[in-house]
């Protein structure tokens, strides 16, 4: 497809250098994946090219309202229409060094080496970067750092690019909260955990129902590093949250769980690629989806175990709950194992609420809508229980509750 017809329209972007120039070249030759791309079989992006989009300009950031469930002690860094409010950087605690990615070739090279290879957002958002932030973290940072993404223009695409680096032995709590009403939200995130570093992480995708959210996140764990991550996808018209993890040192531990909640004609896609390049690592993914009306959910999870990555323990369990006959869930677990001494388990189920359980509850006088909510809540509970950081769990919980009261009552 000729570059001029691709969306968003990148005509306003001037000459680029280094990693961004390379990304632009890849974007211009590859664009969005078409229907033949296996990785995009269940999630079609053809609607994006029918939009009229341009990357957000340099209009000064406006206030983004702070969600009430953010941890009280959180340090909030705000992006409005994809552009960072640099004023927030002053509040960062000691041990966290913030810098802008714009023109920082070394950091951009780092980032380009961490994000999912071949992913359209790895190309597009690096090329069209509307705001670039690098956080270098040393020591133990107790206060959660929350990146808050707002926006209010359906004619724009946003391309925030974030690089988070934890030094050896560092620990931190980082969250992404997306509540933008823009045409396309395409965040590109890279997280690099050096040996022994620990990161608790949560992402809330709560964008407007008119927004298409396509996110690419790359994650690298060194020896003994621990990542405890959770994603909650509730908003958006179409959302794909794709995360690629590379375990590059022994004894690394990665949790990457997710809940998606879909209603109306929403489409949620959780895609992961867990590469066990070294042995003695542990990875765990618990995925729960609840789909009502004609919503659609997709979970694609690949676990790769390299030839000498012995004693790998990787597990993955995806369950989808359909509340309507028109709802649909697609799951594609994939194991690619080249080592012989490994423990890998995966499973996927799709089902409806159990009629017998509903009858048991209603036979006690509990109203059917309450009974359904109790069973949905129970279904999601073990995924939520897996969140290690209490602040992040408390941040997610009200979003789930709000989804249920907003119309799970049917």
């Amino acid at each position: 497809m000729p570059g001029s017809m691709m969306q968003p329209d990148l005509g306003q972007i001037g000459a680029l250098q280094g990693a961004r120039a390379a990304a632009m070249a890849r974007w211009q030759s590859n664009g969005w994946p078409d229907h033949r791309a296996e990785a995009w079989r269940f999630t079609r992006l053809s609607a994006i090219d029918k939009m009229e989009l341009r990357p957000a300009g340099d209009a000064g950031p406006m206030a983004v309202s702070r969600p009430t469930s953010l941890p009280a002690n959180a340090v909030v860094l705000t992006f409005h229409n994809g552009i960072m409010d640099t004023a927030g950087l002053d509040a960062l605690p000691a041990g966290v060094t913030a810098s802008t990615l714009d023109g920082n070739e070394a950091s951009l090279d780092d980032l380009a080496g961490l994000v999912p290879v071949g992913h359209p957002v790895s190309n597009l958002s690096l090329a069209a970067m509307t705001g670039g932030l690098c956080l270098d973290i040393v020591g133990d940072i107790a206060a959660p750092i929350i990146l808050l993404f707002g926006g209010d223009d359906n004619a724009i695409s946003t391309h925030p690019v974030v690089l988070v680096k934890l030094a050896s032995g560092a620990s931190a709590v980082v969250g992404e909260w997306h509540q933008a009403a823009v045409g396309l939200s395409a965040p590109l995130v890279a997280i690099d955990l050096a040996a022994g570093a620990t990161l608790d992480y949560a992402k809330v995708q709560f964008d407007s129902r008119s927004t298409t959210h396509v996110a690419a996140t790359g994650l690298r764990l060194g020896t003994g590093a621990r990542f405890d991550g959770f994603q909650l996808s509730v908003g958006g018209k179409l959302a794909r949250l794709e995360t690629h993890v590379t375990l590059t040192g022994e004894d690394a531990d990665c949790t990457l769980s997710a809940i998606y909640l879909g209603r109306n004609s929403q489409h949620h896609d959780i895609t992961s690629n867990m590469a066990h390049n070294k042995g003695h690592c542990h990875s765990s993914q618990i995925i729960r989806g609840v789909l009502d009306d004609s919503a659609r959910g997709v979970f694609q999870g690949k676990v790769y175990v390299a030839p000498d990555a012995q004693k790998t323990d990787g597990n993955q369990m995806s369950r989808a709950l359909l509340l309507s006959r028109k709802a649909e869930a697609n799951t594609k677990p994939e194991l690619e194992i080249y080592a012989d001494d490994v423990l890998c388990a995966h499973g996927a189920t799709v089902g409806e609420l159990d009629e017998t359980q509903l009858f048991y509850l209603t036979s006690r006088g509990i109203r059917p809508e309450t009974a359904r909510a109790m069973l949905i809540d129970a279904f999601l509970q073990d995924a939520i229980d897996g969140i290690g950081n209490a602040d992040l769990a408390a941040m997610l919980r009200p979003v789930v509750d709000q989804w249920m009261t907003a119309g799970g009552n049917r």
Binding site: Y360, S363, R364, G365, T370, D377, D382
Partner: protein, 251 residues
């Protein structure tokens, strides 16, 4: 006083298959009725039809409780109107906390009656008091509903719910199944404690032994979807001796 429950020429099907073929039964306030019958006679169907389970379709007749037909009422509405079914096979609800479940049930009834939701502390006290009499400890109360309970524990938990909800009519569906002698005694004592002049019970059982513990005022023999004989508690003993053979012919 008008009867608590009147079942009038009740016909019901599961799928296309007629199971209940004209049941007539009147239960007055404070009475305990037992329904006995061989396997496949329609006993469990009757309990589900009374409780309002989906898929159990009433094709004729009526069920009237306190002067009001239950047929247009959903299961939860019937429960709030005073119906309680103790399940033959209580259902496990993984992830649903026991105390939250019990509280939701009690509050549903209180709100229906125009009362305020029960105070949390008062509720915990009340549950503990009633649970103690049934040999249900705190550990069981904290677990998810029926998850990890033995067969006997599940039946005791049913009776605890009955004690908390104080139903006008309790239908006990084969509450004795899967219970050893000791568990049977605990469950029966729990049921007997709930007997009073206002509460009625319909005890459904295959065997007479439960009726030694929960002594009924009336016994009915159900076979092939109809009540074939009715009598006092001595009828249960007669069935125990001669079996159900020949009951069909008596109709």
């Amino acid at each position: 006083m008008a009867p608590l429950l009147e079942i009038k020429d009740l016909h019901a099907s599961v799928g296309d298959k007629p199971i209940l073929k004209g049941i007539n039964l009147t239960i007055n306030h404070g009475e305990i009725h037992a329904i006995m019958g061989p396997n496949g006679s329609g006993k469990s169907t009757m309990s589900y039809v009374l409780a309002g389970r989906e898929g159990y379709e009433v094709t004729g007749g009526d069920i009237v409780m306190n002067g009001e037909s239950l047929l247009e009422m959903e299961a939860d509405e019937r429960a709030r109107a005073g119906m309680f079914l103790a399940f033959q096979y209580p259902v496990e609800l993984p992830g649903v906390g026991g105390m939250g479940f019990l509280r939701a049930a009690v509050n549903a009834r209180r709100l229906e009656a125009g009362e305020a939701e029960i105070d949390q502390l008062e509720f915990v006290k009340m549950v503990r008091a009633k649970a103690a009499g049934l040999g249900i400890n705190d550990d069981m109360l904290k677990r998810a509903v029926n998850v990890g309970f033995s067969g006997g524990e599940k039946k005791r938990y049913e009776i605890l719910q009955m004690a908390l909800l104080e139903p006008a009519l309790s239908v006990l569906d084969e509450t004795d199944s899967g219970l050893d002698v000791d568990a049977l005694k605990i469950v029966s004592d729990g049921v007997n404690m709930l007997r009073d002049a206002q509460r009625s019970m319909l005890v459904i059982t295959h065997y007479q032994r439960l009726l030694n513990h929960i002594v009924p005022d009336f016994v009915h023999i159900l076979a092939d979807g109809k009540i074939r004989r009715s009598g006092g508690k001595e009828l249960a003993l007669e069935v125990e001796e001669s079996g159900y053979a020949g009951i069909d012919d008596a109709a």
